[in-house]
Symmetry: C2
Amino acid sequence: MAKIIASKNGTKKDVIIKKAAFLFRKKGFTGTSMRELAENIGVEASSLYNHIGSKSELLQNICFKVANDFTVQLNETEKATTDTKTKLENLIRFHIHMMLDLYDEVFVANHEWKQLEEPFLSNFLIQRKLYESRMIEIVKSGIRKKELKNIHPHVAVFTILSAVRGLELWQRHKKNITIKELETNMINQLLNGISK
Amino acid sequence: MAKIIASKNGTKKDVIIKKAAFLFRKKGFTGTSMRELAENIGVEASSLYNHIGSKSELLQNICFKVANDFTVQLNETEKATTDTKTKLENLIRFHIHMMLDLYDEVFVANHEWKQLEEPFLSNFLIQRKLYESRMIEIVKSGIRKKELKNIHPHVAVFTILSAVRGLELWQRHKKNITIKELETNMINQLLNGISK
DNA sequence: TTACAAAACTAACACTTATTAGTTTTTTAA
DNA sequence: TTAAAAAACTAATAAGTGTTAGTTTTGTAA
């Protein structure tokens, strides 16, 4: 009888979620079966249900964990009394680190949220929309305070968000560059274009 | 008896592929069933097989059509005898237009290629890798000719590719900005950061 | 009108899906 | 050592999957 071994700091449910994130990223949510997930853990599919409620619940856990992490960081950044450029730099840095530390989870939140069921789908979209709006506000305020060029705030924010999201593509090249290099280069390229 | 109405410039197969691209984008490849696709066209699932070979074949058609379009444009750009900045500007412009004209298809090629079966999966990845390498070469040559700052070529290319890919997110905001504005803003933000 | 091909239909196939019920094993605590 | 709880198992369910076979309808051209 195989067993799900709970990791040092995490329940067995956490072990299942972690492996689910890995598989959902690699094969998609609908492309991953519970039997496949179970096999990867070393257990029968039905045994999973001693620890989790449903397949859907796994996706919810992953998506909202990520959304929450980003929201918490945004809260702190907004409170900080720094100039706009530093605020943006902090956010970009956080995105980069999230992508490196929680690659599978962030990827799944970015790509598989569509498979969420209501009301989770709506909630997720609202939370994301709010995040974007608040970031746009930061840029707008930077423009008003003449800390940023007179760029289109929407375009600026989406270009930044897209670029950091693109770190997904980057995973393959990890070896050829250090994280510090990557961070510096990307922030330079993204900010020096918009900061006065 | 419902019928698949062939569009002006396209076979019935083309109609099926178009609707497939739409659904694959919205619900994912594995998340879309042939019965669902058929219903959206107004026909029984089995009727589709008078026009197509398999579900897989639909995905192949979509992915390689997109990959080909990009490769053709890259060929032309490489041949052109312009400076590096103009070359990059042309490529970015093409990406933007592809995203606007063939939104569903580009999205599917970006996100659902994982569901391709061998040998198509390998072929697709090779073609994509090649595209990236050739774009990196353009940047490298621009650095050598001192037309670009001494940035990290990989990071630069991936930041650009990610940013244009981010136009996916942008679809929702179409109304608030013209395409020309979007184009100008994005190219400015992406290039003025790296051009001397 | 008749003959032929294209393209629709119904029905079924074999297989996979998430999940549940009921049972047995393992772990925990007294 | 024993009793209770946790977590594994086997087996089965009902629903959904892509696809095929065989048949009927539709459109086209002689």
